[in-house]
Point group: C2
């Protein structure tokens, strides 16, 4: 089910985008009104409208009264709010998250499902199909994929960027990188380009567009989870860095000569601020907590041992954030990941150390916030990647327009 | 001598750029050939050529044989290699640096002159005029300013970016910032837009375009001088950060609870790695060096005390660079400033600590280099700012084309 390729297909897609853009902007329009506004020939326009209607992207909205004595009333056309335009999928280490937007760029739903860390790619993609099916199944509120432009995908580990990731072409990427297996599998299934990036970076983009830092141009995102990572949005765009190795805040040294880290270094922030590191330290101090919710409960109950521990961890995190802020000067810092469930017990020492170590002149310019998108941040970031970076959509206005959506209601599945 | 304003002036400048671009690309062309290639009406083209010739930007290059029996030979026109297109001025704390490029974007000269730190702006601008005059004086090799597009200026301290800095308009900048006094003074004198940025950031841009990192897209620049600062080039563009506070590597904490810094913080990198900090520490250890050349001489002579000191300072610098590299993933790190005159005694410990603390997977991707542009880096960065960011020039290809210039021969003045 591969779509047509080449310049003509691109041109046709461009015309489709033009028509969709007019309907997005003006609401329901008749064929005649569309013809006046789009500048396409009648034949081309009618041909495009026929295929948009056939795919369910555009539907009849009603009828306009015809000018006096000029025959039958004109039918008006409108965007189908149930037609999906982009899907975001976060292939996280231990779970899958899927979100979708319709042709009006409203988030129509998000679902998640946990799985074992070792699940093979084929089975992850099967699971992804099933979750997309849950968003696009039959029944009211179901999403049709006729207008699907692209899929934005987050994966664990370094990704060099969109050059390497757009599998819409059979040619190797410009930088010579081979497509990720998940790109090939998804493209085979959905027949559209698959854009790829690191899932933590996508969460940063998600938070900067739809979440805690909606509409901000310069955002630092730190995720405190099983790993400690992050991402940078600079000038409204995701910053990737050489070879995709940016936002690796978890591997900044905080304890010279400290514990060995998975990255091969020692004393990295991740060795003191990951979920396991914090739980281990808590247990070593005599505390009893099997997971983050129990740790958070102990913090809320005023357990001195956990408060001291989080004070220490937060202080180290804040010092790293200060160094990063002095480097890039972000306006907003967003902290996400499960460890933020411990609330102020962690956030307050982070803020104190940040303010202590950042250049005094920057202090009042910084805003420290907790992430708001939860576990679907990466999937939403995948959608943002599509809307921002697909060559077909690159001129679509970014940021605030996308951030206004009040309909986003992430839900857990099943 | 204010130039004409508004859309028509912009359009005319656009036409001029079109004609200049054709001459830059194709070499000498006749009026007829220019007409065929530029698509402008004969009246418009001849009008523009007349003013370009009058200003000295374009000169007659010779004659083409006319087609058989078709009257007199056609005169060809070419860029005047002596016409200046952009000037860069670095208003450093204790000296002034000026550089200029001609209409072919070749650096035609650079001059510097030291002055007292407290010199008032009016006198600095007078000095700047004199140095520009030295580049544009009479005699062979002199530069004419007829084609001057803009001046790029570096100053000490935070600058928010080009929005705030383009004084080509009388309206306040988009972000409400008032023009810097030097912008007003220079614009009055030269009658062209004055683009402003922090001079250390401009040095970063200069090194990324003309210097040690020529042609690189992601560059981290650190300057070890009277202050310790830096700049980031990300994706080929200067990164400014919110409120212009990026690249402040000198204010990253390296000794918690350490010495008080000018910024108001304590234990900043600048408190151990500025020229004064290093000289003070050397003297405290019994060494005798009144300035950096003497310190460098002691290092070359194998003075154990200075080697131990530079080892310690370099180790702290390297750790900060590693944190910054984990954050932004640059391909090239450039170290500039007078302290690099101490050579390997400082560069080797920097490299060791950088490699020890950066994510192991990034190590082989990093290239650490000494700056090559010396004290005129900021002035050259000012030119790069003009060529990259002037609205008139924004589509001019960046990077490698500019970096090829072999004619750059900075000279000290007087």
């Amino acid at each position: 089910m591969s779509p047509p390729r080449g310049p003509l297909a691109q041109l046709r897609r461009g015309h489709e985008q033009l028509v969709l853009g007019l309907l997005r902007k003006h609401g329901p329009l008749s064929r005649g009104e569309l013809g006046k506004r789009c500048g396409l020939s009648r034949t081309t326009l009618y041909d495009i409208l026929a295929s948009l209607v056939a795919s369910g992207t555009v539907v009849a909205a009603g009828q306009q009264d015809a000018p006096r004595g000029r025959g039958r009333p004109a039918e008006t056309l409108t965007l189908n709010p149930d037609a999906g335009q982009a899907i975001g999928i976060d292939f996280a280490r231990r779970g899958l998250h899927v979100a979708a937007v319709n042709v009006a760029h409203e988030v129509v739903g998000a679902v998640s499902e946990p799985h074992d860390a070792g699940l093979p790619w084929e089975q992850r993609v099967e699971l992804a199909e099933r979750l997309v099916g849950a968003l696009t199944g039959t029944g009211s509120g179901a999403l049709r994929l006729g207008a699907l432009d692209a899929i934005g995908v987050g994966v664990v580990g370094p990704v060099t960027g969109p050059d390497a990731s757009e599998a819409g072409d059979d040619a190797p990427a410009a930088n010579g990188a081979a497509p990720h297996p998940v790109q090939l599998l998804l493209r085979e299934r959905f027949g559209v380009p698959v854009l790829l990036d690191n899932n933590t970076r996508l969460a940063a983009l998600g938070e900067a567009i739809w979440g805690a830092a909606a509409g901000e141009q310069d955002v630092l995102y730190l995720r405190l989870s099983h790993g400690v990572g992050g991402g940078l949005v600079i000038g409204g765009s995701l910053h990737r860095g050489t070879q995709g190795l940016s936002g690796e805040f978890g591997h900044i040294t905080v304890e010279p000569g400290g514990a060995r880290c998975e990255c091969g270094g020692t004393g990295c922030l991740e060795t003191v601020a990951s979920i396991r590191a914090v739980l281990d330290a808590y247990r070593a101090a005599g505390g009893r907590a099997g997971d983050v919710p129990q740790l958070a409960e102990a913090a809320r109950a005023g357990d001195a041992s956990v408060l001291t521990l989080l004070e220490d961890v937060g202080t180290k995190i804040g010092a790293v954030l200060a160094a990063v802020c002095n480097t890039i000067g972000p306006g907003v810092i967003v902290i996400g990941g499960e460890l933020t469930e411990t609330g102020d017990a962690l956030m307050r020492p982070i803020e104190r150390a940040l303010h202590e170590h950042v250049m005094p002149v920057s202090r009042h310019l910084l805003s420290l916030r907790r992430a708001t998108l939860g576990e679907v941040a990466g999937a939403l970031g995948g959608i943002a990647l599509v809307l921002h970076e697909s060559p077909l959509l690159s001129r679509y206005p970014a940021g605030p327009d996308l951030a206004k959506d009040p309909t986003m209601t992430p839900s857990r599945h099943p």
